[in-house]
Amino acid sequence: MFDFFRFFGKEESSSKNIAKERLKLVLIHDRANVSPKFLDIIKGDIIKVISDYLEFDVDEIDIRITKVQNGESDYSSALVANIPIKKMKKIGKNSG
C-alpha cells in the first residue's frame, strides 16, 4: 500500500522526527548547563515574585532542570523548584 504520510516524511515516528525530538530535549539540558547563570537568573526572578507571599530561606532553594517520564519512551523536561516554606505572609491586608 502506498503510504502517503511516510512518503512526505510527516509521519511522527520517521527517524528524522525522532532525531528532532531527541535533540530538542538534549539541548534544553545542554543550554541550561552551559550557562549556570541561566538558573541563577530564574532563581532571582522567582524569589522576587514569591517573596511577597511567602517566607523562605534563600539558601534552601533548589532549582534545576530535570527529565520527567510521561510514558514508556516519552520524556520531557521540567523546571523543578523546591522552595521550603517557613511561613505564609498575610496577603490582601492592604488591598482594600
Binding site: R6, F7, F8, G9, K10, E11, S14, S15, K16, N17, A19, K20, R22, L23, K24, V26, L27, D30, R31, V34, S35
Partner: protein, 266 residues
Amino acid sequence: MGEVYVVTSGKGGVGKTTTTANIGAALAMEGNSVVLLDADIGLRNLDVVLGLENRIVYDLIDVVEGACRLKQALVKDKRFDGLFLLPAAQTRDKDAVSPKQMQDLCNELKEQFDYILIDCPAGIEQGFKNAVAGADKAIVVTIPEVSAVRDADRIIGLLASNDLHYPELVINRLRIDMVKRGDMMNIEDTMDILGIDLLGVVPDDENIVISTNRGEPVIATRNSLAGKAFINIAKRIQGFDVPTMDLDEDSSIVDKLKRLFGIGKK
C-alpha cells in the same frame, strides 16, 4: 577594510575546510581579494584541499613569531586571482599562538584583503579560542545529524560568549532522497532547532571527493550542485539576495510532490 569570518562547527569532519576553501575561491572568482587562514595548527588540511601543499614555505606561526614577513608566508593561488592561503604550522602545538596574536594578525590582514576566512579546528579548546579571537563574523557548519547539530548548538553558545552574536548556518551534506523519506532532518528542522539564520545549504555531492582528490575547489567543477551552492553562499556573503537552490529546498520539493498528487495549494 576587510571582514574576518571564522568557519566553525564543533564537531570535526562536517565540512569546515571544504566550506572555507570553496567560499574563499568563489569570493575570489567574483573579484574580491581573499585570504584563507588555516587555524588548525598541527592538523592542517586547507593546503591539500586547495592543492597548494607543495608551495608552502612559511606558516602562520612563522609570521606570528616574526620569523618571516606576512607577505612571504602568503601562498598565492594561481587559478583564482586574488586568492591567498596562510597555512597552519604542521609541526607545532596549538599553544604556539595566542588569541591576542591572532587578533593582531587579523587586523593586519584586514588592511590588505576584502575577506579573511579562518578555518577553525574541531573542538572547543585553545584552537577554537585562537580561531575566533580576531573574527568579526562566524559561520557555523553542520550536517543534519544529531551529534553534529548538538555540537553546533554548543558552538553557537560559545560564539556568543566570545561576542560573535549572530552566526550564520551552513547545512552541509543534505541528502534530498533521505529528506524525502523522512530519514534526514530537513532545512526547516535544523533551523528550528538551532535558531540562527541560514547562509546556505550544500547537498551531499561526490564531486567534492573528486575535486578534493585533485586539489581543486568544487566550484570549478561544471554542473556540480555543491559547487553551485558554495557560489550562492559567496554571493550572499557579498550582500546579494540569492534564493536557495531548487533542489536543496526541501519544502519546495514537498510542495511539488503535493501538487503532483493534487493535494494542498496550487
